[in-house]
């Protein structure tokens, strides 16, 4: 429920407006899909180049610490097409990729698709859980801090969120392990478990670790947005009209939601790529460890695939956030359909 902005023009009412909104959304999505294709192509080139620039020598990584005969080195170079110019190597990879052949990991000698499917479940579940925890705890805390701005609760919440932000993931993870796995033996100390519920159980501490690290942004930005909303005239008017407190807060939140949703989207984008530290501390077979070992090994089929996967996730999250602006802000919707 918003107070209509003074002077806002209203286009055709009812069904006509709905039609033009739907058209605007469709246009938006179409453009984004086109943009995504270009984006993924550009990323694949950039990541290919960056992998090439990574220090080290993939032949040496394959042959390990022992000396390798020149014959072996030559054979390996032939096998992995390393004698061809970079552009040709890239195009070969691209040609296979678009046909659905995602290649084999040079380090593990397994198909990239298999490596990915073995780990994506754990990573997505972990991120989803962390995201849900972060949002469900942080948004209310931010609202509360704003509602009592300047008071003790506000300060405590601010301090709490800065504390959680300042602890690097491994520190938070170790503290949680100490408290909830050792001191209070409630949770397992490592591994991803078997079966859906068991995995959720194993992922609880890691998810809390991740949520704690990013929650601060949601808390503080929600607070900032809310403080501003609560200072607005319409809040005073609503109060004066006798609206209940909870309704006022809910309305203020709804109106100030855009930066909050943006932050939530950014948090989700960040989480997907940031699981490595948590995977390290809790021994989780996720995509973070896979990406790290592939980057260091110069295992470019794996690096390419993972980079494109993360990019696709970012594109989807960004699109969802931008669509939510349309859904939640009628003024914006009006502007776009004008």
């Amino acid at each position: 429920m918003t107070v209509p902005a003074a002077g806002a023009t209203s286009p055709a009412p009812g069904p006509a407006r709905a039609r033009s909104t739907a058209a605007a959304v469709a246009r938006l999505v179409a453009w984004r899909v086109a943009g995504a294709v270009v984006l993924l192509a550009v990323i694949s080139v950039l990541v290919f180049l960056l992998t090439y620039l990574t220090p080290g020598n993939i032949i040496k990584n394959i042959t390990g610490i022992r000396p390798a005969s020149p014959k072996l080195v030559a054979a390996l170079r032939r096998e992995y097409g390393l004698n061809e110019p970079l552009v040709t190597q890239y195009l070969h990879w691209l040609g296979r990729f678009v046909q659905g052949n995602f290649g084999r990991s040079i380090e593990d000698q397994t198909s990239v698709a298999q490596l990915f499917s073995e780990r994506v479940g754990v990573t997505l579940l972990l991120c989803g859980l962390a995201f849900a925890l972060a949002v469900l705890v942080s948004v209310p805390l931010g609202v509360m801090a704003a509602a009592r701005a300047g008071g003790l609760i506000d300060r405590l919440i601010s301090v709490g969120s800065v504390v959680s932000l300042s602890a690097p993931a491994f520190a938070a993870g170790l503290i949680l392990l100490y408290v909830f796995s050792y001191y209070l033996p409630w949770f397992p100390s490592s591994g991803a478990g078997q079966g859906f519920l068991d995995t959720l159980y194993h992922l609880t501490l890691p998810a809390i670790t991740l949520a704690v690290g990013v929650g601060a942004y949601i808390v503080r930005l929600t607070r900032t947005a809310m403080v501003r909303e609560l200072q607005s005239d319409y809040v005073t008017f609503a109060r004066a009209r006798g609206l209940r407190d909870r309704r006022v807060l809910a309305t203020a939140l709804r109106n100030g939601i855009i930066p909050v949703i943006t932050t939530m989207g950014l948090v989700l984008s960040y989480l997907v790529g940031a699981t490595i530290l948590v995977e390290t501390v809790f021994t989780l077979p996720g995509l973070g460890l896979l990406l790290q070992s592939s980057v260091v090994f110069k295992d470019f089929p794996v690096v390419q695939f993972l980079a494109l996967f993360f990019a696709a996730v970012i594109v989807l999250v960004t699109l969802a956030v931008d669509l939510s602006y349309l859904a939640l802000d009628p003024n914006w919707r009006r502007q776009l359909t004008r």
Partner: protein, 287 residues
């Protein structure tokens, strides 16, 4: 009870008009003053803080001459913490500041101009968000080694897309408001609208984000050091000490706890100071 709460929700400034001693403000100022002093003069007060003294490695807290004990290389924890203030506090300032400048400029452009400008800028932002930091870090390490300033630059590139998106969202929220339409009707130039009018209203958002990024960057400067980029082992730097202290976590936990507490205290002081200053400003306007 209801009346109290009503007024507090509707007009926090009114609450603040009650006489409240500026305890928070003063405490924050003292903390930040000490931090600044340590950053500027730490190397003078403790010129030998980073001196390796292997004979005195891993002494527990309370050892003679070492109130907080020593770390794995025999350096006094208190001395190296004071000496580490400069490295800890300066780089992240530039990271957060750099990200804010980039974010503000491109976020304003994208949100205000919309259309093709927004489309291109947003896709570039998506690209930066999607580039794996580990890959970038390893390449930077390979090309430039563990350089403090190259790490700072890397972190600016890593943080900037988040700032761009947040500023852009703030602009989107503001751009439908009447004052923007009014400014347009007055034929004010885009740049003027963006940087004079919109920016002022985005300031609270920017400030909150800047401060959070600052705290985040302190840790990030050392977080990638295992890849060879960022502040390396043995450097006087709170983030680095926190990580190095892992090795001696169960012999002298203060090696990790001291810098952790320092980072938290400074970050909180900065955030609470900003809040306190803001509410004082609000008092004056008396809505």
């Amino acid at each position: 009870m209801t009346a109290d709460v009503l007024t507090s929700v509707a007009a926090p400034a009114a609450n603040a008009r009650k006489r409240r001693r500026p305890v928070t403000l003063v405490t924050c100022l003292i903390i930040l003053g000490l931090a600044l002093f340590a950053a500027l003069f730490g190397h003078l007060v403790f010129p030998n803080a980073t001196q390796v003294n292997i004979l005195q490695a891993k002494l527990p807290p309370g050892s003679p001459g070492h109130l907080l004990g020593t770390d794995e290389l025999g350096r006094d924890v208190f001395a190296i913490s004071v000496a580490g203030a400069a490295s800890t506090l300066v780089g992240p300032l530039i990271v957060a500041g750099g990200a804010m400048i980039v974010g503000t400029f491109f976020g304003l452009l994208a949100g205000f101009r919309q259309g093709p400008t927004d489309f291109v800028l947003s896709r570039i932002t998506d690209l930066l968000l999607a580039l794996p930091v580990i890959l970038l870090g390893v390449v930077v390490a390979g090309l430039f080694g563990a350089s403090y300033w190259w790490t700072t630059l890397l972190l600016i590139v890593t943080f900037a897309p988040y700032d761009i998106r947040i500023v852009r969202s703030g602009v989107i929220e503001q751009v439908t408001k009447p004052y923007v339409e009014a400014a347009r009707l007055l034929h004010l130039s885009s740049w003027r609208i963006m940087f004079r009018h919109l920016l002022v209203n985005l300031w609270p958002l920017e400030r909150t984000n800047f401060l959070l990024n600052y705290a985040n960057a302190i840790i990030a400067m050392s977080a990638l050091s295992f890849l060879g980029v960022g502040v390396q082992e043995g450097t006087a730097n709170w983030g680095r000490q926190l990580i190095d202290g892992e090795q001696v976590l169960f012999s002298n936990p203060l090696v990790s706890i001291t810098p952790a507490v320092l980072i938290v205290v400074v970050a909180c002081a900065v955030n609470l100071l900003a809040d306190a200053l803001n509410s004082r400003e609000g008092k004056g306007r008396g809505r």
